[in-house]
């Protein structure tokens, strides 16, 4: 590239290139300052020594050794993977159905978009409020238990409704389904309707159309939604804490406990490990579907 950089009259190609550099620059700078630099700091701290009082800038791998050799790490990741899997299945089923309804069953485009916006209304309140609103519903003396007891279906309140994996997943689904709906909605909207007629003409049953036409064409939406949901769950700590009634620990809550007594390097090493694992997971998901190809070309 250096060869073409001559002083005054830039060639058209070069100026185009410059333009794209200029366009990319602001985002690159933002990413540099707000992503790369903090990340570098975390990575640096993760190899520091520390004692009860101080972080000592001396190189060591002990923090990683301690994180990776502890079976706590394994059990935390297994817990979170389990929650992520349950949440993923629920959000996928619900998100897919909602999106399909909006795109294929609502005739008027305007109404569909209106309903779509309606889906986002609950998200105008804070995550915390939406999560905590489940407590009076699911509690021992909550609405559901009271209703069930009053109707004589149960004698003792159902304990599993609150402070359990169940309540955690319910909250996640409530909080994160929108992240599934949006990309799937988007992918479905771009399907050419004449494909359905073609499928019908070719003798495909309804479920066959869904399986062989709609599903392959909405892969990118599913993948994007899945990435959102999985990473959000894996990185969560507050929902687990509140909705499990503190009876579950998450990967991030363990970091929080480290930080609470100033064990920064250990927490930084955990953070680095989480990042690597999440990156690997996202990379694996992306290998299944080439999102870029689906989004950019092909249409």
């Amino acid at each position: 590239m250096a060869a073409t950089v001559r002083k005054p009259g830039l060639s058209p190609i070069m100026s185009a290139r410059l333009k794209s550099f200029a366009l990319v620059l602001p985002l690159a700078l933002v990413l540099l300052v707000f992503v790369v630099v903090p990340l570098a700091v975390v990575l640096a701290v993760s190899v520091f020594r520390y004692d009860n009082f101080e972080v000592i800038p001396a190189f060591t791998f002990e923090n990683y050794q301690s994180v990776l050799s502890s079976h706590l790490t394994l059990s935390l990741y297994l817990t979170m993977l389990k929650l992520a899997a349950m949440t993923w299945i629920c959000t996928l089923l619900i998100g897919y159905s909602v999106a399909a309804f909006l795109v294929f069953h609502v005739r008027s485009r305007l109404v569909a978009i209106g309903l779509f916006l309606l889906c986002t209304v609950p998200f105008w309140t804070s995550n915390v409020i939406r999560m905590i609103s489940w407590l009076p519903l699911l509690g021992k003396q909550g609405v559901i238990n009271q209703a069930l007891m009053a109707s004589g279906l149960i004698q003792e309140p159902l304990q599993f409704l609150l402070f359990s994996d169940f309540s955690v997943v319910v909250s996640y689904v409530h909080l994160f389904t929108i992240f599934m709906i949006v990309p799937i909605f988007n992918a479905m909207s771009r399907i050419d309707r004449s494909l359905f007629e073609a499928a019908h003409d070719a003798g495909a049953a309804r479920w066959q159309t869904v399986l062989w036409v709609v599903l392959p064409l909405t892969k990118s939406g599913i993948v994007l939604g899945s990435i959102f949901v999985v990473t959000l769950v894996m990185g969560d700590f507050y929902v687990v804490k509140v909705m499990s009634g503190g009876t579950d620990a998450s990967v991030v809550s363990a970091m929080y406990d480290d930080i609470s007594t100033l064990l920064f390097p250990h927490a930084a090493a955990s953070a680095a490990v989480l990042m690597i694992i999440l990156t690997a997971m996202v990379a694996a998901i992306l290998r299944l579907v080439d999102v870029r190809k689906e989004l950019v070309s092909g249409r």
Binding site: F53, G139, K241, G246, D248
Partner: protein, 439 residues
Amino acid sequence: MTDDQTPKPSASPTRRALLRGAAAAVGAAAGSGAITGFPTIWAQEIKDITLRHIGVSYSVVQAIGDQAAKDLGFKVSMQNLDTSTAITRFITQPTSVDIPDLEGWQSKVAVARGILQGIDVKKIKEFDNILPIFTKGEYDGKKVSRQGISPYEAMYIDSKDSTKIVEGVHDWMTFLPQVYNADSIGYRPDLVGDPITQWKMLLDPKFKGKSAILDVPNIGIMDAALALESRGDIVYKNKGNMTRAEIDVTINALIDAKKKGQFRATWTTFEQSVELMAAGEVTVQSMWSPAVTAVLAKGIPCTYAPVNVRPDGKEGYRGWCNGMGLMRHLSGKKLDAAYEYLNWYYGGWQGAFVARHGYYSPVPSTAEKFMSANEYAYWYSGKPATDVIKDPYGAPIAKAGSVRDGGSLVERFTNISCWNTVMDENQYMIQRWNEFKSA
């Protein structure tokens, strides 16, 4: 905060008197003949000072700061952070704080990092009236427990800028005790039956699925330890500084109890503990005194279990104390104002305020002046109330004739078993605690 902080000679008692006068009214201060100098200008100058007092919500209270500002004539900005965020802030951005709210262990960390300056005991007017729990490590003729980090243990340094805490009484304090209490367990007398006076009830199968423990690892583990000692599983050398083996025994017992379905939940914030109790999710749990008050204020019965130390050494309260430090960057007028602020806390108004939700002031003698005889007798002396007792915001919480759970201040603080702390094996403990959580 780089206003003209030219070093000034240290504040004299007259200047302090002046400040107080200035707070009331500039004119009044000017009129008080005993003072030389330029009172009007002084009042003008302090008016622009803002002290930033930062720490946990149960210690750094807006209503108290507002009253201090009103009385003192300068601004006080209160900011609440949780314990860990607070200490992180003090360490990483020391100049963004003036008065850090500190517990013993935080004070140890802060002193070692050199972010504090010593508090000159000569400038603390009520120093001699501070209860000896804090200044000498004894009370009512008895030595106060040294398990964990007692306030006395983290109290003194031997020079203003020292970074090493020393044993014994010295002229420089690391933090000025402000509010403290003895924690135990709370329970719902309407749902529990017999009164509870032992920590082992947290683990009693009778309360399977109805018990909760505090999930702040470094103090939750001590509640667990008290319960295990109470049940006779183990005798600790120092619950506040366990060995790895002791930590293992404790955590394994917790995991065992959890697997049997003992714990309905764990809680981290005051509000959570109130909700758990008020909603009937749990009937017995580790609890803090104002949380019990808050449940009572909702009209729901709740008792704070008296857990006096038994002859065999079992039971006892877990004590804690939050105090105020002086950040090292304070100097000049701002430092003078900070000393005024510290002294104000011992003036009695704050002591009366915190007493009404069950906490104590280190200087009860001044707090007494701001409380009715009925209130003081109820909260401090453990006597039956002669009239309705109200919380700091005016909600009635106890009827005439009722007695405070756990008795008088003396009774509680001669029954402390251990103090809030961070152990030497902290990291190992936190890791194991998380194993309990994820079990």
